[in-house]
């Protein structure tokens, strides 16, 4: 697949917004057709006009209380409803982790925990609002499905593809609009890595908006070095696409992982777990280092400061090839 595709101007306009805006629209559309769908709000803002005004009977604001948000959502789901619990990534995964573990995952209930401000997308808000350990936490919970769309278009696919999941979902979104990766319709397959670029020298596996964008930029840089990198968008982090990773380990000389998350426990760790067991190969992990960050910057600059950039990805790929 290449990016030289015909551009649908409507598509570009529709998805040149924040992923969470697309999510709100799609949620309202799904809920209008399915009275079991409830929007559980923790006073996030943004659902008043998009949802509450049209479907007041399917909207509940529990206030700024994330533990209760997830506990009540479990209660709704156990009573036959399909709650979408809305909060910020860190507040769900860290603050209300136990409710997610015991009440939601532990009962395998169809609660969709939809989080925003994931990774470093809260930018200048600072580290209280960053979530760079949420994937590591949530993917250890049995029954959870973890999905990280790479852009606003993929967010629509992901929300629709998971609407009928029988179990719980952690849908990880950012805050502001990010570059469009997909500029026209494509086939989104839940649980399957999306090969954005074919290549047989090295594989770059990325999850999240800027990581995928940067992986594609690194791929272009590597082409200049005569290196053909395969790029996989691992939008579903759990269950992870083991087959695609084994193919990458067999068919290319190694893997570079890219994420807006600490390298411990996240995508890089998940990839290492698979290849170590199935087909060991060299792996380099690009992600947020093991330290707290007091640097004030926007998302992209925070990532670069953390060592997540196209240049570093390309260097890591070349290092893999030198092994």
């Amino acid at each position: 697949m290449t990016v030289t595709m015909a551009i649908d101007t409507d598509w570009i306009e529709r998805y040149s917004v924040a992923s969470r805006d697309v999510y709100r629209r799609v949620l309202a559309e799904l809920a209008a057709a399915d009275p079991r769908i409830f929007c559980m709000d923790s006073d996030m803002g943004g659902f008043e006009d998009s949802f509450a005004a049209h479907l007041p009977e399917q909207y509940v604001n529990v206030g700024i209380a994330e533990a209760n948000l997830l506990g009540m959502s479990a209660g709704l789901a156990a009573t036959g409803l399909r709650p979408y619990a809305n909060t910020i990534a860190s507040f769900a995964a860290a603050r209300a982790c136990e409710q997610m573990k015991i009440d939601i995952a532990g009962n395998d209930l169809p609660v969709r925990v939809v989080v925003t401000h994931a990774g470093l997308s809260a930018g200048h808000y600072g580290p209280t609002h960053h979530a760079v350990e949420d994937i590591a936490i949530v993917r250890t919970l049995p029954n959870m499905t973890v999905v990280v769309p790479c852009d606003a278009a993929e967010t629509e696919y992901a929300v629709r593809a998971t609407a009928d999941l029988p179990g719980p979902l952690f849908l990880r979104l950012g805050r502001a609009a990010t570059p469009l990766v997909h500029t026209q319709p494509y086939e989104f397959r839940l649980g399957q890595a999306h090969e954005l670029r074919a290549g047989d020298d090295v594989t770059i596996v990325a999850t999240g908006p800027y990581p995928v964008v940067m992986a594609l930029a690194a791929q272009r840089m590597l082409t200049g070095h005569g290196v053909h990198a395969r790029v996989l968008n691992m939008h579903t982090v759990k269950p992870i696409d083991r087959a695609a990773l084994v193919r990458a380990a067999r068919q290319t000389r190694g893997i570079v992982t890219v994420e807006d998350h600490v390298v411990a426990g996240g995508l890089g760790a998940a990839v290492c777990e698979v290849v170590a067991e199935e087909h060991p190969c060299p792996v380099r992990r690009i992600g947020v280092p093991d330290r707290f960050n007091d640097f004030v910057a926007d998302e992209k600059d925070l990532l670069v400061e953390a060592g997540v950039s196209p240049e570093r990805i390309a260097e890591a790929a070349l290092a893999v090839l030198r092994r």
């Binding site: 209760n68 506990g71 009540m72 479990a74 209660g75 156990a78 009573t79 009440d103 532990g106 009962n107």
Partner: protein
Amino acid sequence: MSSAPIVDETTVLAHRMREHILRMGATEHGTHVGGSLSCADVLAVLYGEVLRVRPDEPDWPERDRFVLSKGHAGAALYAALAERGFLPVDELETYGRRGGRLAGHPLRRLPGVEFPTGSLGHGLSLAAGVALALRRTGRTGRAFVLLGDGELQEGSVWEAAMAAGHHRLDNLIAVVDRNGLQITGGTEECITLEPLADRWRTFGWHAVEVDGHDVAALREVFAGVPRQVGRPTVVIARTVKGRGVPLFEGKKKSHSVQLTPRLYQRAAAGLKTRRPQ
């Protein structure tokens, strides 16, 4: 109150439940004896008279839901479920036993258990969610939840209390097993809970205080729920930890006990002196 029959079936049920609890306390790992005995009368009234449930159809959609938020009192719940017909009474012998269904804190999928509990501070949110779902889907079932008093020190309880009051969930009934003791001693010495009823009232609840061992009084309270339209109800059941077994009554050490054969004999003999006449 004085209209109760001389030998009250529910009082007898509560006594049998206490016998079961002591037997579970005599199993290999023991049990949370004190807090199970303190809520036995409440559970006897709920399971004996109040809850609309079908033991042969545990998932009946119109049922009342019960959540044991103080999950460490699993032994009391198992006793009630067995007496109500959800479990074979003989199965109570398997409490805590390897390969069995009766964990120290209730597991999911045990008939009659709506949610696994044990980590304190979860049950009121769960029950509030259930109550809201029942309300919005037009069902008549009610959500009951039993909380420990020490449990009220968990902040998440008050998140749920605030939300339930705000959303006027009058099909939600919380019961507080106010036995006044937690592991290190009196609740008021640990973290002040009083004035407890007023605290709930300021969160938008209708609060009732009742002797949690007076079956007739409990019956009267539960007969009238919801007590007030538009408000969830909290029943603060004043209880005694270890109630029914003189050896344990009012003793903080009754919290978690493994009854040796000799201790079991003493406890059972003490309970026998309280047998309903």
